[in-house]
Symmetry: D3
Subunit: 281 residues, 6 copies
């Protein structure tokens, strides 16, 4: 089970989203039409099947708007839901629930979409060791929760930011003056606690990487399945392999069958469809 | 032409996205493999057709990473591009361009997606007065740029946050004790500079709204086209009409033909597909 | 009754004020001279009559300095007080009460002044439909609480910021090229959820506005009472009317008698006298 | 001449005020009605006589909204102006000038009011050594500029916050167990770089303070002029004297004549009238 | 006993340190290897003798990471500990304790080092009135807690920042045009609540300062002990004296014997050795 | 050569340090005694030998206080200096230079100390492959610049925060239920871009780690040199080795001779002595 995010990191994100949605002086509608003593019992329900993500953020949203709201979680982050399933219930002041509703749903709809899409990709790898992972193609400001949603869907982490791992792409190689130069300075400066990955587009480049040494992971980019198979065979476990580029859902089973270790999919975070959820009273 | 956003408001968003992507101590890859005197001339190119949005953010991203980069814009926000068109060019330190690339693309891919989808909806309204507008179903933290992308695509603004207009939905009506109560207290408290919109799901509710008075806009929610036509006819220009709920692209022409004033589409911001863009060197 | 402000929005304001007053390393006086186990029971009392505002901020100030303080409110925001009335009582550590005192009083003195002055203006409108409203002439940083104080005094809201409504003044008209140009582009871009107000200084301009259409509110600026009467008569309910400019308290009854809908008064927020309050032990 | 405030400290204040006034998505009016190529030459003029303050903030406001605006200062902070005098001129994009106008005026009107009122108090001390000073009764969030406005008006600084000096008031004395206990622990903990002031309400208390020693300044609170004269005579220069409480303008000459060193006036910051200024095009 | 720092000021410091150490997405190790229901009872123990400081920060660190942790303090800030003494105990989720451990120790090791070194200097002044104080040579960002650690060790406060006292050094004197010019403008502008200190390097300069008047404190900089003795004798209590420059521990007894009032030691904050502390389970 | 830190990350740190040192209303001394037209030419000089670090921060400090200052760097970060060497020169307003001086020196003294101490450790490894690295025992808030100072001194990076690598210590092993359990769940959850290190205190534990597999690095903690030699021999290059615990300078040559890959030294950041630098005019 994926453990929750630290509140120290997640709360500021939810707080900022609430401030954005409340606007500079608060919810004009509930303030105008709902008295402070009207209470509601509300259910946040799935209207489609999926793998839930964003519950932790939603719970924080309701609490930040009104600490007196009682929120209980029926389907936590990572759980599978069917249409009609209740994910969480909220009891308390109607005005508070309505003021927090949109932010809670905006987080959950998007993140549940990511977790659900990830789970679909993961399902295609069944029977193979390949694991699904994501990229840095996340929504500006939401990397924390989107990378977590990938985990909720059964995906595996990739580097989080430009700080924590080295990934040498074609443009870096060109600027460095070639694969050997790039890998050698990278290895020299990376230290012992940082992984180095390098992109190759052809088998010839792969040979060059293996001959140079120093890479922990090789990114097999935009290869067709036959070439991927060859590449994985050539690597033969010497380094970790990651397939990337044009990784559509209908191709994953075939890619996984090549024996590649990881399949990275930008679409998990940049193209997941929002999952339909609603608050019922 | 939509005017640019104030930099006072947009810059902090781009800055935060860069800090998120750089991570706590910067771009390990460029630092390790690219010398400070390698320079590049790069083009940010469209790989799909679309309506551009996010250029202002991208320009700020490159400038924040390195004020010495020279950025020039060929296709500004709101322009239509064909595959292969160059949107902007960047000249300067290769390391700087590569460190800012992902953030620039993350903004532009998503926002161009929204502008492009909006333009597709707008195209369907041709020959009718109906205007396409969006909702509060935006990505947490990105409302500023997503609402702007809708304008770039030819859409019309809706309320920005809970502060600036009153929109009385079914749950508000229930909590207020009915349509007349809700509209009367809303009118009393809204003052003279705030619009009031109220949701109706049936023609009977519409009658109640018209009888009570006080609404500027009526939201015709989840109605089939026949009912919409009846509702618009019944209103007869007395208030502004907005159709909402299940507004798929293939239905817009028919909905616009009902004579409705506005069609609001949550999908513009929550379900637009990212548009493929790339940085070429 | 005006509902309280969202704590998400108000708390940062109070927190910043406390940090400003505590200075970089805290209250040197209480730290030096008062032991941690000295307790007090204090009353925050009115020394003048008025309409209370700022209680919500004061309660937050005491709580932020010391969550163990017990604060109870006798006269909430919006209540009328006479000299000597106790607005709130605080029990707990003397050092905490004394450290928070000044900030609590600085908020309450100023905001009670605004609410009290507003109430005086509102009283002058008795028997007429005219409502008193404020402007953007608020103290930098305090708009949230000053606009709320106007509500506590019985006033009506105006636009909150430059974002939420369009108000076309003389300089805008000049820059736009005339009233018709200004109103037409405004109406085209405002969308359906934003009100448009336009300033007129003469009856001739008023005719132009009415002929053009597109305005929701007309600002009758700096007119004498006779002209105001004519203007209101000419409008005849076609749009909302707001009188502005030189709206002294002793003139309000006469202005209200013209039948104008709203009277906006910059002095409410920029020239209210602080109301004398004190903390008694 | 009072030197300008450090921009590192002042700019965030102006930036926050602009963000408050622009609202979450910017100036809807100028965006809708003014094209980007309309330029203006504007003058910020005094409509009343006074001592100017807030110019530094106003200049920053125009620059933050649009670095391309050309701003030149005719009457800097601290200068005396007559009605009609131009304080600063601004040339550039009309939309930028109009978007920054209100914030610039909100700072300048209030701060010029404080400087002008201070100058009036200072004028009453002519022929005496007494200097006018202010208190901590400043507007929450604006202490930096309000204390500076007092200097612009010829006033003298007081402690800035609770951190930088010790001021023992009646409630502190009570909590400490008496004047001797309060002064002794204060002197012991204050170190050598912090002044200690103590409030006395009677001549008997003054004797106690002088007998105990350890005070740098004695605050003669709410005394009538005769008692003040006696107190100042009794002190005979042994410590600095500050008169406080009910220090109306019409009483200052008489109070100054007692020979007191400082006269502190809360009204300078909490009750100054805004000075009328306007932007003319 | 030194009273605790206001949480309003200290908490943001601890929060920032935790966010720095957690990194952008939290503690990868505990998340990966420790289940949420493993609990620990941990003791934070001294491994060396010293005077404790940083306990208040450590307690906040554990609470911020996990409000459910039970923390109890055996040796509060300012207490002396021997090797093996338990300073505080923490009970609760193992993952939470381990995630907060490093930040708690980083604060406490450094601050206990400062308090311990201060206490060593204070011990050398025994039998003399001289008090040990610190300088502005603190770690960027940590002045609040480092100055407090000096108090925990028995030291006396100096000015906190450039805002709260005037300290005229040699370069200021040169820029001002001499001692008399510097002291006169300083006295004129400082007001009555700010102390003025001036540096002298020779007895001749001291004469000039005494002749000019206006200084509260004289900084006797880099003098040998014989000269210090002469200087203190010459001052004869007319102003406060502070010795500074090259104040090594082994010289303090001799310096204190000169009769100087204060001895300021930059090394307290810039060169204290970290004290060894550890968390035992 | 170590490349400079991104200004986006470093500038906020320097800005915060300046705001801390300026205090809430700026430098009272320079404001009082130095006129705005006094200019200086100042040199920041080394008074001891060392390896420079903190120059980038110092340059930013001078620029933030006054963009008109001209700063030129003679010895950049990473350069060796002898006593008397000029590191940078600053020309411009004397008041600006003096206001920024302390913050510039506080950064540089501490960071140059770290770089210099690191270089001393690095010198001891001469002739061996061992590289010197640091730990998370950094000053709260300064990790960015302290880790960079280690690089300036010739050290190698370690993990930056808890987010970017897994380091399983004894307490984690205990909580996980043993080495095999800890390593297996770590490997499963770490993904392919995160290194895993595990601490061993004995050769028996080392066997267990090697038998389990999954570790990239083994931390040989608190071993005597003989045991270290055995451990390194046993590992035989199968994983990276890091020696840690009690790594005093006088022991490094001997430790390096064991053939260990990395030697981590907490003292680099927690116990480096400040290097003496001064600003001369």
């Amino acid at each position: 089970m994926t453990q929750p995010l630290p509140e120290l990191l997640l709360e500021p994100l939810v707080r900022a989203a609430l401030i954005e949605d409340l606007g500079p002086n608060g919810d004009a509608t509930t303030r105008a039409v709902i008295g402070p003593d009207v209470t509601y019992s509300a259910q946040l329900n799935a209207r489609e099947a999926g793998v839930v993500s964003g519950v932790q953020a939603a719970v924080i949203a309701f609490r930040l708007v009104d600490p007196a709201l009682k929120v209980s979680v029926q389907h936590p982050d990572g759980a599978r839901v069917a249409p009609g399933d209740t994910i969480l219930t909220i009891d308390g002041a109607a005005a508070s629930i309505l003021s927090a509703e949109r932010v809670a749903l905006n987080f959950m709809g998007r993140l549940t979409g990511i977790a659900t899409l990830t789970a679909a990709f993961v399902a295609e790898t069944k029977g193979h060791k390949a694991r699904i992972t994501c990229t840095r193609k996340t929504t500006p400001g939401l990397r924390l929760v989107e990378k977590q949603a990938v985990l909720h869907g059964g995906g595996s982490p990739h580097r989080y930011s430009l700080s924590d791992a080295i990934l040498i792409k074609d443009n870096h190689i060109a600027a460095a003056g070639g694969v050997p130069q790039a890998l050698r300075t990278a290895r020299d400066r990376a230290g012992h606690m940082m992984r180095i990955e390098i992109e190759v587009d052809t088998l010839a480049q792969l040979e060059q990487v293996l001959a140079t040494g120093g890479a922990d992971v090789v990114l097999l980019d935009n290869m067709d399945t036959a070439t991927l198979t060859q590449a994985v065979g050539r690597v033969a476990g010497a380094v970790v392999t990651e397939a990337s580029g044009n990784m559509r859902l209908d191709r994953i089973a075939e890619v996984a069958a090549t024996g590649v270790d990881y399949i990275s999919v930008g679409a998990l975070t940049h193209s997941a469809q929002v999952v339909d959820l609603g608050l019922d009273f």
